[in-house]
Symmetry: C2
């Protein structure tokens, strides 16, 4: 019945109080980031996309850095999800799990380059903020455990090697580099990445 409005109004009547602005702004910011990229990110455009005045975001996120911090924290959660979802479809042995996590790492960077850059190549989020710091540590711990399951001793150098290889491939993909690999057919590309990732695994 739609609250019994007398004359048929526009789908969303403009209410003064949005009701769920926090989440709406996060969604708008993520969309804006994906479309315009990180370097052209504008707080005011995010507000316009959410159908709200330019100063509204301040009440929920403080400033643009606060919004980007929240977005980065959410990004880390999706980043970890990308790794685990790839791992779920892979064999259980430690080596295959590490490769699968790396492929998830790369897939996230390839499919969401702007979000990837926000997380790994930006100074704008506050990486000291609890939410974001937790996400970052959680991602490291995830990789750390994966490597430990293979070697039995979570050696920082072993972890760094696996991390750097996955990150290097991912970052170069997000940047649009490495044409020789990117121009491969998807299946061949995946095989190439898997082979390269395997080289970084100790043992």
């Amino acid at each position: 019945m739609e609250t019994e409005s007398p004359l048929c109004e526009v789908p969303e009547k403009p209410r003064y109080h949005h009701g769920a602005l926090h989440d709406a702004l996060l969604a708008a910011a993520e969309a804006e980031l994906a479309e315009t990229g990180l370097e052209a990110f504008s707080l005011r455009r995010v507000a316009r996309r959410a159908g709200v005045s330019h100063a509204a975001p301040a009440h929920h996120f403080g400033d643009v850095g606060g919004l980007l911090t929240a977005l980065a924290a959410e990004g880390f959660r999706q980043f970890i999800a990308a790794m685990t979802s790839h791992q779920a479809r892979a064999p259980q042995d430690p080596k295959a799990q590490i490769v699968a996590a790396g492929l998830g790492y790369i897939a996230f960077a390839t499919e969401r380059p702007a979000l990837f850059r926000l997380i790994f190549s930006s100074d704008r989020p506050d990486f000291g903020a609890p939410d974001l710091a937790a996400g970052s540590e959680q991602a490291y711990d995830h990789l750390s455990r994966l490597v430990g399951a293979r070697t039995g001793r979570e050696d920082p150098v072993d972890i760094a090697a696996v991390w750097a290889m996955a990150h290097g491939l991912a970052d170069l993909m997000a940047a649009g580099r490495m044409d020789t690999i990117r121009h491969l057919a998807p299946a061949d590309r995946e095989r190439a990445f898997a082979g390269i990732l395997a080289r970084s695994i100790p043992g």
Copy 2:
């Protein structure tokens, strides 16, 4: 005698025509980039630093993208120089040369993080511009030859593996991540990097 000025004037009398603004702007831009970072880079501040009006840079570089493109091209030259200078101090065998190039890669990213990001993690320079594209290709060819000297066949996958490992370590260092390695004493850190880089070398 300083051009025989009657009353002792300020060191640099403000001339209308700068004379060497192009290079002065590039130098100012590089300094500004190093101090404020890429994301806070401002064309007007660069102009102020060079002691010139805010519209002056346009006559030499068009717009801010043009200035950053020129800066990135110069950055690639310094980037390659960092690799070759490290290689010069290393043994001549192919494996040691690859490791040395990687250490130069990482040193450049660590010492000039903003310039590194401009080159590898920014959309603002025009990577289609001849100067910049040439620098990028030259860097890839440099690595390619190094790997070819080891394997004899410049395989794209071999090259990608070496590149990704060096780039991953470099980018994570530029981003201030990988505390476990960064907090090592310089000598230990260098040893760790060398060991990790060696894992990516085929054969």
